[in-house]
Structures are given as structure tokens and as C-alpha cells.
């Protein structure tokens, strides 16, 4: 491992690491703009210039490999002058319209100017005025603010897998953008808002909605597919204004897809269910169930649960079905399987990122519901309704009328039931048929866990209070159980998890409160055996 000295401090770099990476890893900040840890090095901004002993000129630290014996100065007079001049050059054509810029507060240029900039501009010539160009539905481009770092080009070309941006013209006329107006179509274009270090590319949906320092952010998950991308939900006045990526090397690196970002629209959607059909809905629901249970006909109740629900929701739904109602007709709609590798890979995002399964918790649903003695799929459940094997159905966040594939047949089958209750966050054709509808919290309003396609348990966090009278399914189910005379003591998702850990194979290490940021890989059955075996014969070598 190369040892080098940076500003008098000796540090050890990883083999092949750049001087910049090595410095950052050791808490030495070298200003940088075009460098992005997940993009190829372009070395064009010249912000990260440092002085290296024996080199005739200043060198870019992002593009210089750390070598043994290197002596690096990041704050010498020469370096500071170069850095200040790079900033000065960048500001020549920059409007400095921070007060009206959406990047304000999250802008690297702004930060560096306040740290390293000059008080007064020496530039007494005319600034550029670029025309506004509509680049596409999600991203707004302001060329006047561009610092030509080409991060956007590199992201689209090397990461997203769509060569949609390029440089035009030369010299100070150089602009950055798509080949045609409105042509930016990448399903990952939303990332450009974060990839761009300044306010040249910003999110259209977030325009003028909020200031970063006036918002709160909570780390949560995107509910959009089985990847389970880590995200920050940014809120202000109890409203979620945007989702931005949270880093997770095992899951989504630094990215989100556009559809995932757009999932916040669900929260305030017009068809959101906020109130139950009637104030007495829960009692009525319990009443129907009680009558059947008393007649010893619990088996005539069908329960359909969605992989959109959290593990905690699903676990208590299962508990209600098995232990309180006493039915084996417990079903879920299995997610679509995806034979592409899960990644993260170095290949374009288009090849692996967005999963075929559009639900966030199929794995969890399989783990929790399949571990009961009998679980059906939704198809069996419709058939059971047709055959009269079930007379009542509780539907949790599903829409079998649509998802079954044959609307008429499903509608007819559900029409034969004596009782249909839907517990959901949004109205659906199935909900239209239901006798009772109970509101469910949206993903942004609930705590819990999802298990992604790869078997990684990750934490969903409530970013805002639940709208209306909605709540998490596990709370609804706990209430129903209580009406039926079974009192559970679950007051939080964390408490439900304690029971999951003891009951569901693979979930034994789950602890809601200490769940690591990067999530927790499920304990595989054979791994569990192995762990036991290893414990009995400790392997000294492995502990090093």
C-alpha cells in the first residue's frame, strides 16, 4: 500500500487510489467539482489541483494516482492561487443568481466561493446569455449556470446507458445538452439534478418548492419496485416535496429511477382513501368475522395481502388469519420474477436497475406468508370464491379485479361473496365493490421494513404523519383482533419485529432499532447452519 504525505500528514492509500480519494478518505478536503465517486474521471474543472513534489506543474489530484513517497501540498500558495483562479474563471459567465436558484444551499460552487472566492470580480466584460432550452419532462436546464464539468454527460453515457447529452460548440461558447429539444428520455434522468454540482440541471417537479435548509429529510425506501432503493424523503410542512437517492453500495449506489422519484405523487393522489366507509367500519368488520368464527366457519374467510405492505403488516395479517380467524385461505400476488442479475453492476443501469417486480416486498411476503402451513395465490382465492369455499374476503392493498387478468370473471366471483372489505391507501375497482373500505397509510407515512429482491431487509421510515384516518395495516389488524377479543401488545413496528425475529426463518437478526443503514442481509438457511457450526469450532483465522 502506497504511503504518501499530504499537507505534512502521512497517510496510507489503497493501491491504485487517486490522491483525491486518498485525501478524502483521511478527512483532508481538496475542493473538487467534476470528480464524482461513481463517474469516470474527466479532470476538466481543475479545481482539485495540488502541488506534488518533483512535478513541474500542479497536478489534478482526482486524476493522479497516489504513489509511495509522494509529498503533496493542498494548501500551498501556488495551489490556493490556482484554486481561486479556477473559481474566478467559473464565475466569469455565471449569473450568481443564487436567490432564485433551486440548487441554492446544495451548490458546490456556492460553497467553494464562500470558502475560496475573491470578494470582488475582476471581470469587467459582458457575461454570456444562453437561451433557455427545454430538455425534457423531468429536468430543467439553465446553461448560464453550467460549469462544464461533464458530469451529466458521463452519468448518462457511462452509468445510465443512454448517450443523450453531449457538448456543443467550443471554447466559451460550449454548451451541454441533448441532441434535440425535449429529447432527454432516460428513465434515470432525474439523477442529473444531484449529479450536476450546480444549478444548471434541476428537477422540474421540485422547482421553487423549497429550500434545502428549510426542509427535513428522513432516510427511507422507494416503494417503486423490488430493488428497494434507499432514498431521502424531503419534507416541509408535513408535505413530501421530493425523493433523492441515499447511498447504498449494495442496492442502488447513488441513484433512483424517475418512476421511483415520482412515487411521492401517491401521497396526495386524488383517489387516496383517507376515511373509512363508516365510522363504525372496524366494528362491522369484526362483527362479520366474529359471526363466522363463532359458527366455526373461519375457513370461509379469505385474506389477500399485498407485497406492497411491510413485513410488519404482513406478519400481523398472517397472525390474524391463522390465529384469530383460523383460515388457511391466505394469499398474496407473487411478484414477477426477474432473471437479470440484481447488481449493483458496472454495466448501464438500463440493464439491471429497475426490477421487473413493481412491488417492494415480494421477498418479505414470500418469507412471511409462505412460512404458514398453507398459502394460496390470488388465482386460487378467486377460484375458492367461485366455488363458494370462501364467503368473505379481506383485501389488503390489492386490486384483484384488475390484477387477476379477467375483469369480468373476477368481478363476478367477488360479487358472489357475502362480504368484501378492502384495506387500501387508494381507491380501485375492487374497492368500488367492497362493503367496507378502511384507509391504509402510504409508504411515506409508515414505519416498517421491506425485504428487497436480493433478500436485504431495509427500513422504511415515516416521513410525515399519516393522512386522514389512515394507518398501517398492522395497526388496523391489531384493532380488528382486539374487537375479536384477542389483545396483542404491539405498539410499534419494532415490537412486531421482535416476534418476526423469533418466528420467521432468516429474520432472526432483525432488530428494527439497530437495523444498519445499508440494511441487513437475510440469514440463509444453510448459512444459519454454518454459523452454528462455526460457533462450535471457532475459526481463528477468519477473525483477523
Amino acid at each position: 500500500m502506497p504511503k504518501l504525505t499530504i499537507d505534512g500528514v502521512e497517510i496510507e492509500a489503497a493501491q491504485g487510489q487517486s490522491v483525491l480519494d486518498a485525501a478524502l478518505a483521511h478527512g483532508i478536503h481538496i475542493p473538487h467539482l467534476c470528480y464524482h465517486p461513481r463517474l469516470k474521471v474527466s479532470g476538466n474543472c481543475r479545481m482539485c489541483l495540488v502541488e506534488i513534489e518533483k512535478a513541474p506543474k500542479l497536478q489534478i489530484s482526482c486524476g493522479t494516482e497516489a504513489r509511495d513517497g509522494m509529498v503533496v501540498q493542498t494548501k500551498s500558495e501556488k495551489v490556493l492561487k490556482a484554486r481561486q483562479s479556477v473559481l474566478e474563471f467559473m464565475l466569469i459567465n455565471h449569473p450568481l443568481d443564487c436567490p432564485t436558484c433551486d440548487q441554492c444551499g446544495e451548490c458546490k460552487l456556492q460553497d467553494y466561493c464562500s470558502e475560496h472566492g475573491q470578494e470582488e470580480s475582476r471581470y469587467g466584460e459582458e457575461k454570456h446569455g444562453f437561451d433557455v432550452l427545454d430538455v425534457g419532462p423531468d429536468i430543467s436546464r439553465n446553461m448560464n449556470r453550467c460549469i462544464h464539468c461533464t458530469r451529466c454527460i458521463r452519468f448518462l453515457r457511462d452509468v445510465a446507458g443512454s448517450e443523450e447529452f453531449t457538448l456543443y460548440e467550443r471554447g466559451s461558447h460550449t454548451t451541454v445538452g441533448p441532441y434535440l429539444e425535449k429529447a432527454l428520455e432516460s428513465p434515470f434522468s432525474g439523477n442529473l439534478a444531484e449529479v450536476c454540482p450546480v444549478g444548471a440541471l434541476t428537477c422540474k417537479h421540485f422547482r421553487f418548492k423549497g429550500r434545502s435548509w428549510l426542509m427535513e429529510k428522513s432516510r427511507t425506501l422507494c416503494p417503486g419496485c423490488a430493488r428497494g432503493c434507499n432514498a431521502y424523503a424531503w419534507t416541509s410542512k408535513q408535505e413530501v416535496l421530493r425523493l433523492t437517492p441515499a447511498e447504498n453500495d449494495f442496492v442502488n449506489q447513488s441513484w433512483l429511477c424517475n418512476a421511483g422519484r415520482a412515487s411521492i405523487a401517491q401521497i396526495e393522489a386524488k383517489n387516496r382513501i383517507l376515511e373509512p366507509t363508516r365510522a363504525t367500519a372496524m366494528e362491522e368488520l369484526a362483527g362479520v368475522l366474529r359471526a363466522l368464527i363463532e359458527k366455526d366457519e373461519g375457513e370461509k374467510v379469505g385474506v389477500l395481502a399485498s407485497p406492497r405492505l411491510t413485513n410488519e403488516d404482513l406478519y400481523l395479517i398472517r397472525k390474524l388469519a391463522r390465529e384469530v380467524i383460523g383460515t388457511t385461505h391466505l394469499a398474496f400476488v407473487p411478484g414477477m420474477s426477474d432473471d437479470r442479475p440484481f447488481g449493483p453492476l458496472d454495466t448501464p443501469l438500463t440493464e439491471w436497475f429497475i426490477r421487473a417486480d413493481p412491488t417492494p416486498n415480494s421477498h418479505g411476503a414470500r418469507d412471511i406468508l409462505h412460512s404458514t402451513e398453507h398459502t394460496e395465490n390470488a388465482f386460487d382465492l378467486i377460484e375458492a370464491a367461485e366455488k363458494g369455499e370462501i364467503s368473505s374476503l379481506l383485501v389488503f392493498s390489492e386490486d384483484p379485479v384488475t390484477s387477476f387478468g379477467d375483469v369480468d370473471r373476477a368481478t363476478k366471483a367477488l360479487g358472489q361473496l357475502d362480504f368484501l372489505a378492502v384495506i387500501d391507501s387508494h381507491f380501485s375497482p375492487t374497492a368500488e365493490l367492497a362493503r367496507l373500505v378502511v384507509p391504509e397509510a402510504s409508504f411515506a407515512e409508515k414505519d416498517g421494513t421491506f425485504t428487497n429482491e436480493q433478500g436485504r431487509i431495509q427500513r422504511l421510515r415515516a416521513a410525515i404523519p399519516a393522512r386522514g384516518h389512515s394507518q398501517s395495516a398492522w395497526q388496523t389488524v391489531t384493532e380488528v383482533a382486539k374487537h375479536l377479543g384477542t389483545v396483542w401488545t404491539f405498539n410499534s413496528a419494532a415490537e412486531v419485529d421482535r416476534e418476526i425475529a423469533s418466528k420467521i426463518p432468516g429474520y432472526q437478526d432483525l432488530d428494527f432499532d439497530t437495523l444498519p443503514l445499508e440494511g441487513l442481509a437475510l440469514v440463509q438457511a444453510d448459512e444459519a447452519d454454518q454459523a452454528e457450526a462455526e460457533e462450535s469450532t471457532p475459526d481463528q483465522d477468519k477473525k483477523e
Partner: protein, 432 residues
């Protein structure tokens, strides 16, 4: 006049045709090289001291020896025929009048460092040179001099013309490679150097046309002969391209180290009319300007470096006293700021700024402090960019100010150009 090597056939009718070339001993050098070991060819070129004629004067044999012997990807030779530096107009004549020498030199170079494909990247505007190269390649291919198993030696060598994409920066070796690959012509970061990772990721040598055209002569007449044509470490002859206010501008092949004074006054017949010499740019527009008292200098790499300028491409631009120095450098700054590829901050922004300030000074709107501002911008550009194009602007700007500062000051004090009004086409900002 001294011995002519590269331009010896220039006056021969049909000099560009294969049979003319072969009648004059053409392709015997290639034949000879193919009987030698590749390392021996490299050693010979090293011993000749042949230095690159593209501008930097890097020893050609040494450059070839940097190419790794074993490589996973194919190796390439890129012949740099972009010839974009203002004042430079030598390579075009080599291609027009002696294209087979370029092909033969390229074939020998490829054999020496183990490439089988050469691309000649010809400046897009060079229609005739391109046609001549194409024609010569077709002839050579027909004659078994280019293609599979050339001259029955078992060595494959192919060569293709790549039309340039119209930017000066594409003459910079890594930008040339990018452009040759079909990308926007923008310089790459170094390292990795082209000799290790170049065209299509393979080890690549980039050589100037003139450099390669010397190679057959070195094969035929030996390293020592070549070295002795010029001063120590500056062997051979040089094609000097003289333009500007001399009586007989043109291309002159002279021994390396011929005095600049001799070139201007003897070879080119002196300054036009009864005008006086005011300034000379010795090696293409990026090389710092010289004043009349400095022209007693040997025109070779080392002697010019000693007096703070460069031989560059050997393009001598002569200016008499009718030339406004501020206007001249403004025009050059316009060129460089326009040709900046725009990727790195100091060059993209700094060059345009330099040009804007110069336009103001020449236009009579100079301000107190402008000259120091210019020098400081140059300081901030120079050495801080990806490729030398930024330096190529900063160096002459500094040079003009250093040598002619009073003229800049006069512009500012008198709020105008003492020589005359600024002709319209040169005015306007770099952004216009």
C-alpha cells in the same frame, strides 16, 4: 543552397506518382528495413537524433521505443497531418508533392514498433493533399507495398486516410486520437500516454508528417549522415514556412540551425518594400515573439529554447513596422479562444477573457491595470490545463506584452490604436 532532402523531388513533374518515386529510389528504404530486426530500426532512428517536427521536438526513436512489445490490443500509428497552427503550411506540400515518402516512412515506423495499421489524420480543408494521399495509397496497395504481406516480407501494413473534423485542437495528439475514433476532438488526460493506451485503447504513436518523411532517408543514408546535417542534438534539415512581410514567403528546406536572420534576409529576400522588421514569430503562432535584435539565432530546438521561445513547427511569421502588435496578438487570441475545446475551465474561460480585454485595448477602451490583468490571467491559465492549447495562447500573449509593453500602454493612454482604426472583421467579441 544546402542539401534538400524532403523537398528534393518537389520540382519533379508528377512527383506524387509511384513510378516517379520508385525511379528515384523510392521504397528501397522500406525493403531494407524489412530485412532488419524491428529493434535495429528503432536504434537507427534513435541514433540519428531525429526529433519530432510537430512542435515539441520529441526524439522519434525514443517515442517508438516506449511502445510495449507485447500488447493485448492492436497497435497503431497516427500520422498527424492536421497542420492547424497559424503560420504552418509544410505538411500539406509533403502530402501533395511527395505522398509516397509519407507512406514509406509510416510503413517503416509501423514495422519498427510493431503496428500493422496507420491512419493519416488530414486536416479537413486539405482537399488536394487528401486526394493525393488516397491516390498514392491506392497505387501502393496495387503494387503490394501496402496491404497484407508487403514486399513478400510476411509483414502486414495498412494505411488509411482519416479526414479531419475541422478543429485546430484535433492536432493535439490525444484529441486527434479521439477524433480518429469518431468522437468529439477533445484532448485526453495523460497518463495514460498514447504509447500505452491510445487509439481504440491500443498502444499508439502519433508522429508528424515531416518527422515520418525523414525516416526513409535515414534508412538509406544512415544515422550519422542525418545527425551531421544540423547542430548537435538537432540533426537533419527543417522545412521552414515563412509568411508575412518578406519579399519571398514560402517553404524552405534548410539545415537545422540556420540563422533566423539569414532566413529572413538571404533566403526570403528581406522585408517587403522599404519597410523595417518589427517582430518575428519563429515557430508558429504559439511561440513567443522575437524582436529584430534577437534574430541572430540558430533556428533549432535548443537555441530557440535558450532565448525563451520555441522552434515549434518552424513556421516563421514576419511582421514589419506597419503591424500593430496589439492587433496582431488580439487576432491570435481570438484564434485560440475560438479553438479551445472548452473542456477545461482555465482555457475555456481564460482565453475568451484574454481576447475580450485585448479587443477593448485595441478598440481604445483599455483600462488602467488591463496589462497586469492580462499577465495574471495568462499566469492562471498556463500549466493548469489538460492540454497545451491554453499555454499556446498564454505564451504568445505574455511574449507580446513583454517585448512590446509600451505599445499596449500607448493604446490605453491614447484610447486607441496609434497605427489606425481597428478593421471591422477583426472586431467583435469572442462571444459574438
Amino acid at each position: 543552397m544546402a542539401e534538400k532532402i524532403l523537398t528534393a523531388r518537389f520540382e519533379t513533374p508528377d512527383s506524387h506518382l509511384l513510378n516517379t518515386y520508385q525511379a528515384d529510389g523510392g521504397y528501397t528504404a522500406l525493403k531494407k528495413a524489412l530485412t532488419m530486426k524491428p529493434e535495429e530500426v528503432i536504434e537507427l532512428v534513435k541514433a540519428s537524433g531525429l526529433r519530432g517536427r510537430g512542435g515539441a521536438g520529441f526524439p522519434a526513436g525514443l517515442k517508438w521505443s516506449f511502445v510495449p512489445k507485447e500488447a493485448e490490443k492492436p497497435k497503431y500509428l497516427c500520422v498527424n497531418a492536421d497542420e492547424g497552427e497559424p503560420g504552418t503550411f509544410k505538411d500539406r506540400y509533403l502530402m501533395e508533392l511527395d505522398p509516397h515518402a509519407v507512406i514509406e516512412g509510416s510503413a517503416i515506423a509501423c514495422y519498427a514498433f510493431g503496428a500493422h495499421i496507420a491512419y493519416i489524420y488530414v486536416r479537413g480543408e486539405f482537399k488536394v493533399p487528401m486526394e493525393r494521399m488516397e491516390q498514392a495509397l491506392a497505387e501502393a496497395r496495387e503494387a503490394g507495398l501496402v496491404g497484407k504481406n508487403i514486399l513478400d516480407s510476411g509483414f502486414d501494413f495498412d494505411m488509411w486516410v482519416h479526414p479531419g473534423a475541422g478543429a485546430y485542437v484535433c492536432g493535439e495528439e490525444t484529441a486527434l486520437i479521439e477524433s480518429n475514433e469518431g468522437h468529439r476532438g477533445m484532448p485526453r488526460l495523460k497518463p495514460p500516454f498514447p504509447a500505452v493506451v491510445g487509439l481504440f485503447g491500443g498502444p499508439t504513436v502519433v508522429n508528424n508528417v515531416e518527422t515520418l518523411a525523414f525516416v526513409p532517408h535515414i534508412m538509406n543514408q544512415g544515422a550519422e549522415w542525418f545527425a551531421k546535417l544540423g547542430p548537435e542534438r538537432n540533426g537533419g534539415t527543417k522545412m521552414y514556412g515563412v509568411s508575412g512581410h518578406v519579399k519571398k514567403p514560402g517553404i524552405y528546406e534548410l539545415p537545422m540551425g540556420t540563422s533566423l536572420k539569414e532566413i529572413i534576409y538571404d533566403v526570403c529576400g528581406g522585408i517587403r518594400g522599404d519597410h523595417e522588421l518589427k517582430a518575428v514569430i519563429p515557430g508558429g503562432s504559439s511561440t513567443p515573439v522575437l524582436t529584430p535584435d534577437e534574430i541572430d539565432v540558430a533556428m533549432d530546438f535548443d537555441s530557440l529554447a535558450k532565448i525563451g521561445t520555441m522552434l515549434g513547427s518552424g513556421a516563421i511569421i514576419v511582421m514589419d513596422e506597419t503591424t500593430c502588435m496589439v492587433r496582431a496578438i488580439t487576432r491570435l487570441a481570438k484564434f485560440y479562444s475560438h479553438e479551445s475545446c472548452g473542456q477545461c475551465t482555465p482555457c475555456r474561460e481564460g482565453l475568451a477573457w484574454i481576447h475580450q480585454v485585448l479587443v477593448r485595448i485595441e478598440g481604445g477602451q483599455g483600462r488602467e491595470g488591463d496589462i497586469d490583468l492580462l499577465l495574471d490571467i495568462c499566469d492562471n491559465v498556463q500549466g493548469n490545463t489538460i492540454c497545451p492549447l491554453g499555454d499556446a495562447c498564454a505564451m504568445p500573449v505574455r511574449g507580446f506584452i513583454k517585448k512590446f509593453r509600451p505599445e499596449f500602454e500607448e493604446h490605453i493612454q491614447k484610447a486607441g490604436c496609434p497605427i489606425g482604426p481597428f478593421p471591422a472583421p477583426w472586431a467583435g467579441s469572442a462571444k459574438g
